[in-house]
């Protein structure tokens, strides 16, 4: 039976986030939090593997209490277990500290054969978690997976198609393996009523900095994060373009030349 881990993150809906022009910080107040969209594709891949080959999917996240809602969304969409790592000591973690905490907690749950991650998060968008986690789990890494072609539990191998810049590569890797997926073939499912209702009352396993054994305080939260963010600021937006609608192509061209003439 395959043991599958899916790492997810709750993020602010960045489409609705504004940046304080004076402080340069994100204004998160009143902005709804959502399950990171690319994580929904990873979860779908994980649940599909479970449905085809048997096994169980555990979703794990580090975040505040409200991240529980994102985990319940995962349970509704087919995950069997959910784990929330929440502690004020975890705050201000960069990817290095986060991957350390996730891996330390996941070890308490046994040995995972497959670990799925979204390609990147909507907010930080570093895309670093997958490779860091693969290293910490001592797992092989298949990134940008389009299709999972075969998993052989006896041989402990996974065969997958990966998207490259100039084509598709078919690669075999050994288990345990960490997989990040492209969204093309893993469309998130809509949960059914039974699954959704179960998810609303399901137990969520919680860990904090004291209940994860042998956690090194110097490797978590702010002290464990070498990445510092001195400033956050919105990208400069150029002037919007001008659409010429003068009534005919000839008139559009005349107007265009007239505008160019003014510029030159």
């Amino acid at each position: 039976m395959l043991k599958i881990l899916c790492c997810i993150k709750q993020v602010p809906d960045v489409n609705l986030v504004k940046i304080d022009p004076e402080t340069g910080s994100l204004i998160r107040q009143g902005v709804p939090s959502i399950l990171n969209p690319l994580d929904t594709n990873a979860l779908e891949a994980a649940v599909s593997v479970k449905e085809q080959l048997g096994g169980e999917v555990t979703c794990i996240t580090m975040g505040p209490d409200m991240a529980e809602e994102a985990l319940r969304e995962c349970l509704a969409a087919g995950a069997d277990h959910a784990v929330l790592l929440s502690d004020r000591a975890f705050a201000n973690a960069d990817t290095l500290a986060t991957s350390y905490v996730i891996c330390s907690a996941a070890r308490q749950l046994g040995q995972f054969d497959l670990i799925f991650c979204g390609k990147e998060s909507l907010d930080g968008a570093t895309g670093q978690m997958a490779s860091q986690l693969a290293e910490r789990f001592d797992a092989s890494l298949l990134s940008g997976v389009l299709n999972i072609c075969d998993i052989c539990e006896e041989q402990k191998t996974v065969l997958a198609e990966r998207e490259l810049e100039n084509g598709i590569e078919k690669t075999e890797a050994t288990l345990p393996c960490l997989i990040t997926v492209e969204k093309t073939n893993f469309h998130p499912r809509i949960p059914n009523l039974k699954s959704w209702k179960n998810s609303r009352t399901a137990e969520i396993l919680r860990f904090n900095s004291h209940t994860i054994p042998e956690l090194d305080p110097s490797q978590i939260g702010d002290p464990g994060s070498p990445t510092k963010v001195p400033r956050t600021y919105p990208p400069e937006v150029g002037e919007s373009g001008l659409i010429l609608q003068e009534g005919s192509p000839e008139k559009d061209v005349d107007r265009l030349f007239s505008l160019l003439k003014d510029v030159l």
């Binding site: 499912r189 959704w196 003068e246 009534g247």
Partner: protein
């Protein structure tokens, strides 16, 4: 003999002086979009001038000139209509309200908002929510102007629970064809005060007067909502479930249906695959979407359970729960894209917006599909299952336009006759314009049609407002203008 006068240079200068040079165009400088709406098969006619008005006073001044000179005036919002309503079939001027797009004032104590008619529906809806209230009418075309919605009495997806645009108009300012300004209605919820001209103006498609300001009713914003998707084998089974849903005391906000081929087209075009095509191993052929609203999750769950039981009893393949904002956004984005997708994938397009009793939706669709097969066109349809309002698009990618029009005319003649036989209405929310006049006349009969034309004459004796539309006939056709 021409009934209307052409725009002379002198009159053009007079109109230009009212709105200013920047908001006036004439002759070759008129943008081609002003010649048509979103259903160009109903004709493209360029006006002689376009005025972008910014105030009631400007519109009153324009109407005084046009009334004096007997120049036709066609009012236009965002041009998103589907029946040729804003096409200036007799030339004259197009009077656009697109610049009158300000939300003027919220009155939270009386739950209403005062706006200019050119405010876009999407802007009003979002702004109201930001103020903690909701403007309930929710027609599919979110970039229509609210003035256009009022002029067509648009309905939309939430009509099952909240009613249509008419139910949210408390008062309006209107400029009559003479240029006189009148106020209709008050910011109160009841009236028994003579003939209700406010409601006569709503749905009159710019043929009686020009709406220049609106006071609209708002409601408190519901705290929670959830949409449940019920996939079925086919449209007949899906529609057969609707009466049970309506009888279950769920008070749904909307009950929508979509056929599988529209879903497939939408997924192919937008890349949004949110509608599952195979559910529990079975191919879905049609879908019902039910949206429930309430003040808490606890309030919604028993209703969801009841709907789940109905789904089981009526043969739905499953009951799927669209709870998260992300899923809601994806599902409703797919739903809102239906018309855009159909337009993009069809070279030639015509539409029907009939309303039939709910139990007649499926037989009506079967009839239309049979007609389409007979005449060699194809059908795409979706609509509001809860109120029987169907959006049926007749499409072709290989016929010549004249041949397409001939065939679709026969299909429409038969379909509107079938609609009448089923006790239906010609239009649920897209209105009449000049495209559906014949069917309106056949549907209501000569006496009622005659009363409508007399009402038009009372308001607009020279018939300068949107001539040739709804119930106004151009003797000798558009050439006689």
């Amino acid at each position: 003999m021409a009934k209307y006068n052409k725009l002379t240079q002198v009159v053009a200068e007079e109109l230009q002086a009212i709105v200013g040079k920047q908001r006036f165009s004439a002759g070759d400088s008129i943008k081609p979009d002003y010649a048509h709406d979103e259903m160009p098969i109903y004709g493209k006619v360029l006006p002689e001038a376009v005025c972008l008005a910014e105030s009631t006073e400007e519109i009153a001044a324009i109407m005084k000139v046009c009334s004096r000179e007997k120049i036709p005036v066609t009012v236009r919002g965002a041009g998103t209509g589907l029946v040729g309503g804003c096409v200036p079939v007799c030339g004259g001027i197009v009077l656009s309200t697109e610049k009158m797009n300000r939300i003027l004032e919220y009155d939270m104590r009386n739950l209403c908002v005062r706006i200019q008619p050119g405010v876009l529906l999407c802007d009003l809806a979002a702004d109201a929510l930001a103020h903690g209230v909701m403007y309930p009418p929710d027609p599919g075309e979110k970039t229509a102007t609210v003035g256009g919605n009022v002029s067509t009495n648009a309905g939309g997806m939430r009509a099952v629970k909240y009613g249509v645009t008419r139910d949210y108009v408390l008062a309006m300012t209107v400029v009559l064809p003479s240029g006189e300004v009148i106020q209709l209605g008050k910011s109160v919820c009841k009236t028994s005060s003579g003939y209700n001209l406010l409601h006569l103006m709503i749905g009159s498609e710019g043929t009686l007067g020009i709406i220049t300001e609106l006071t609209l009713k708002l409601i408190p914003k519901p705290e929670k909502d959830v949409t449940l998707m019920l996939p079925f084998h086919d449209i007949a089974t899906a529609i057969a479930a609707v009466p049970s849903i309506k009888l279950a005391n769920l008070d749904p906000q909307s009950i929508e249906f979509a056929e599988r081929d529209v879903i497939d087209s939408s997924a192919e075009f937008t890349g949004n695959h949110i509608f599952p095509t195979v559910v529990n191993g079975k191919e879905a052929g049609a879908y019902i979407l039910v949206t429930l609203v309430g003040n808490s999750e606890q309030e919604l769950v028993p209703k969801m359970d009841r709907l789940g039981k109905i789904a089981e009893q009526t043969g739905a393949y499953d009951t799927l729960v669209i709870w998260t904002d992300t899923l809601k956004k994806d599902v409703w984005a797919a739903r809102s894209a239906f018309l855009t997708v159909i337009e993009a994938q069809s070279k030639l397009l015509d539409e029907m917006d009939v309303v039939v009793p709910v139990d007649k939706i499926a037989p009506f669709l079967v009839f239309v599909h049979e007609q389409a097969d007979q005449y060699g066109v194809y059908i795409k349809s979706f609509g509001h299952a809860g109120d029987g309002n169907l959006h049926i698009y007749c499409c072709s990618n290989d016929l010549e336009e004249d041949e397409f029009k001939k065939r679709v005319k026969k299909l429409m003649d038969a379909s509107y006759a079938k609609c009448a036989e089923f006790g239906g209405q010609v239009s649920g929310e897209h209105a009449i314009g000049h495209a559906k006049k014949q069917y309106l006349r056949e549907s209501v009969g000569e006496t009622v049609y005659g009363l409508m034309t007399q009402i038009k004459t009372v308001f607009d004796p020279d018939a300068i407002l949107n001539p040739g539309k709804v119930c106004h006939d151009l003797e000798g056709g558009a050439e006689s203008c």
